[in-house]
Symmetry: C2
Subunit: 518 residues, 2 copies
């Protein structure tokens, strides 16, 4: 495939065709302007649906059969159950049993619980995955074993791809903690409540056929109806749709590592000194011990100065919920719940609002709210001296993480990456990132335990912080410091075979993931 690679606007080598479809190389932030129309699903008619609103069929196999499951179809799923998902493997077990081949799986994310799908990638049931390929699935792809090429998209990019028709979903199979027979569904009620169903929104709106799988079938009306039954074809009742305890993302405890606590404290102090923590500000802090610690430090500043945030962007967890309940933040605008306290709060508190990639992240809309969040805290596996960052591959070239909302959040006003200077004695700051997930022009601040680098483009921040006692350095200084300790990292052995591509928020290809050499 190497003969077809071209250099995109970020200087990365990318294909112009993926899985037989033309793709557009990345052109720069905000440079690619779509001049086409949205995807237009078929018009349905009530005449073809039961008057009594009862769309329940016997089981998932019946639903998939009625939906016309056949070779080559694209099957989509959401990941609100995260590692507690019980539906995806069922789908492909049935497909394999039916002898269906060459399916495309289009998840909003994959998790270790999906490891059983490896056998279907091997036997041709699944041709390729378009979605995050974490852990074991990523390793499979990096070793060049997947038949098709993987395509990774951000949460917003996934909505964009469906809306724009880049991906046409034949059958969406949406796990729902509660549904009525008409297919109105939500994630906040029922024994398997996982929070919300926003990652399934595009699927419900644009898929040809939509199947709801639930373990809590209630009488109409199922409210709130986060998914509208008016988009749904079939409803299936199963014993258990997911394990909500497993929605927990990474740690749920504030870090106790001294280095990470230091990074968290410096991040919060920097935000405070730069005047970013002010009345009516907004912030996004993910899950993970460092992020939780940062939110905790924010809370202290806010209490001391009597500051209220207009909203916090979730991934929600118990810490963010406490801030909401204490009145430190007016609203949580939540994209996914990361623990059961988040689920409870969303169910009970009207100020804990479920959002979707459409409202928060879709770059092909008339704006989205990611661009007006004041402080955005994100991670990265690598950053380079141009502030470019990688969240997908490790420095050994292996594809081990999805993009999530990471690219979308880069459009926030102040994007901060608190990252350790090195991991397992491998420096995190590099000359060049192994894989480019997000361009440096959108990344403002790198906070490490040994110093802070501010993007030279942010003259305003450099000016505000010029008298700070914080250890502000250049990114080159940070890189040198890491290399002094760990040595200069060796070049890794990557082949020129593209095993996956990384899409930018506008659907263009920002980078390739190459097969790892032996």
């Amino acid at each position: 495939m190497s003969d077809k690679l071209v250099k995109n606007a970020a200087g990365r080598m990318v294909p112009t065709e993926v899985n037989g479809k033309k793709v557009i190389p990345y052109q720069g932030v905000g440079k690619y302007k779509p001049d086409y129309r949205k995807f237009n699903p078929k018009v349905a008619t009530c005449a073809d649906y039961p008057d009594d609103g009862n769309k329940v069929v016997a089981n998932l196999k019946t639903a998939l059969t009625k939906a016309g499951l056949k070779d080559g179809m694209t099957i989509s799923t959401h990941h609100h159950f995260r590692n507690g998902d019980l539906v995806v493997n069922m789908i492909f077990d049935i497909a394999a049993e039916m002898g269906v081949k060459n399916l495309v799986w289009y998840p909003s994310a994959s998790f270790p619980c999906h490891e059983p799908l490896i056998k279907y990638l091997e036997d041709g049931t699944i041709h390729h995955i378009e979605g995050s390929m974490n852990g074991v699935l990523g390793r499979f792809v990096s070793d060049g074993k997947m038949k098709g090429t993987g395509i990774l998209r951000s949460h917003g990019g996934r909505y964009q791809a469906v809306q724009d028709g880049d991906v046409q979903i034949d059958i969406a199979v949406l796990a729902a903690p509660t549904s009525d027979p008409f297919g109105n569904s939500n994630g906040v009620t029922g024994p398997s409540a996982c929070g919300l169903l926003g990652f399934g929104l595009a699927d419900s709106q644009y898929a040809d056929k939509v199947i709801i799988v639930t373990d809590n079938l209630v009488n109409f009306p199922c409210l709130p109806w986060q998914i509208h039954g008016n988009h749904v074809d079939y409803v299936v009742k199963v014993d258990k749709v997911g394990i909500p305890e497993k929605i927990v993302s990474g740690t749920t405890r504030i870090t106790k590592s001294p280095d990470r606590l230091l990074m968290a404290e410096m991040t919060a102090k920097l935000c405070y000194e730069a005047g970013l923590i002010k009345e009516g500000f907004s912030f996004q802090a993910g899950a993970g011990g460092t992020s939780l610690a940062i939110a905790n430090f924010f809370a202290k500043y806010m209490r001391d100065d009597n500051i209220t945030a207009a909203f916090a962007r979730g991934g929600s967890n118990q810490y963010l919920v406490e801030m909401l309940e204490e009145g430190l933040v007016k609203y949580i605008l939540d994209g996914q719940t990361f623990d059961l306290e988040g689920v409870r709060s969303m169910r009970e508190n009207p100020k804990h609002v479920d959002t979707s990639p459409f409202t928060s992240y879709n770059y092909h809309g008339k704006g989205n709210f990611a661009s007006f969040i004041d402080i955005v805290i994100l991670g990265a596996t690598e950053v380079d001296v141009d502030f470019n960052a990688n969240v997908n591959t490790h420095s050994d070239g292996y594809l081990l993480h999805g993009i999530g909302g990471w690219q979308n959040c880069l459009f926030g006003r102040n994007v901060i990456l608190p990252i350790p200077l090195f991991r397992n004695r491998i420096p995190v700051i590099r000359d060049k990132v192994t894989t480019l997930t997000g361009p440096g022009e959108l990344i403002d601040i790198i906070v490490t335990e040994r110093g802070i680098a501010i993007n030279p483009r942010r003259k305003d921040l450099l000016e505000k912080l010029k008298d700070s006692s914080l250890p502000i350095k250049t990114i080159e200084e940070l890189k040198e410091e890491a290399e002094k300790i760990c040595g200069v990292p060796e070049k890794i052995n990557l082949t020129d075979e593209v095993v996956a591509v990384i899409k930018w928020v506008d659907g263009t290809v920002i980078d390739s993931v190459f097969k790892v050499g032996k």
Copy 2:
């Protein structure tokens, strides 16, 4: 135009082309199957919208100019302010001032407050109206004075027409009691709170340009966001967007007329005797003194028998809100609020849910919930011996009412029309309705003050009520009784000129409205 009329499946003469566009004659209930795709709006990009989310422009003229207002465009508005709307006349005043001609106005309904638009229909600013043409506007149309042909659609049909691309909205101008600068908007908060904004949903989703007009601009996030700012191009602040006290539809008091009270009591008794008022049932009762009285009688049966309704379909008003608060109904699924108690309840009570024509009425969806409402109470200007009904014209041929949700509600399980046997000494039950708005096969029961007629198709109801003490008669008997009192009505003088067409829920033409002769 008469040379182009064809006879449709209901035996009515209809054109095959309206305002230069081909239309499809009505083919029967559930017979017309769409085999095309939804309308696909242009793909937008965040690159063209402000990063800070501030879409506020100086005034409505600026917004209309930026939106590219020009000759021949289709301008849409919603009617949630009903007769208290202050925005529509502003739009056309500006258009007239700018010298723009031949606009199509696509309201979800029009009201007496829109009488000033007559001058723009006369001077060519507005070419024609697609939407309800009540009162004075209807009279103008019936007299053959509108340049184009009127097109009337139900609320669901309006959603269908936009979704299917039958109507392509160039600019939607949506009055919003509260909005943030991004365009997230709702109807439940702010000094002009009118309830909800569901009638503007299709407009926001499919219009090329969307303008929000508000008198209550709040900081992001405006919640609930009944309209998503992600669909919005411009936001305009005005002094006052509408007069919420004028949302009151007809009377807000239970009728005191002995005849109407009798009809209400018989309707409720009939429902009770037929076993329709039972645990978990659902009902829809509109505004108007008779409907309110019916709901009141329902409440008595429900209290006596300890029955709870699964939901009531609103138009909400204080009486329905009281039933919700008393626990007689579990949810109000509301399409529009008919008084300020309805607004308050929707704002405060999570069990008072705002709906849209998409969830409730769109016939070109995968079902809608109108078809599983147990008891539906509707009105009519005329009914004929085949149970066909007219809600648009009076027996003198004048077009004086819109369709509203009437056609959509016909899909309910038991459709009851409580109507007086005659009005102003003109019999309401006719050999043939002047205008066919809904086919008799969907209308189950006619209740008059002098007797009840059950559609012979409903053998089940006839069986259940065979021993009833209610005055059950044939519809022919009712007609004869009316004619005995009032005489046989004279034939009216209609020309063969089509001044408007009545669309069925699937977009086909069910009837024509003809110019009234001198």
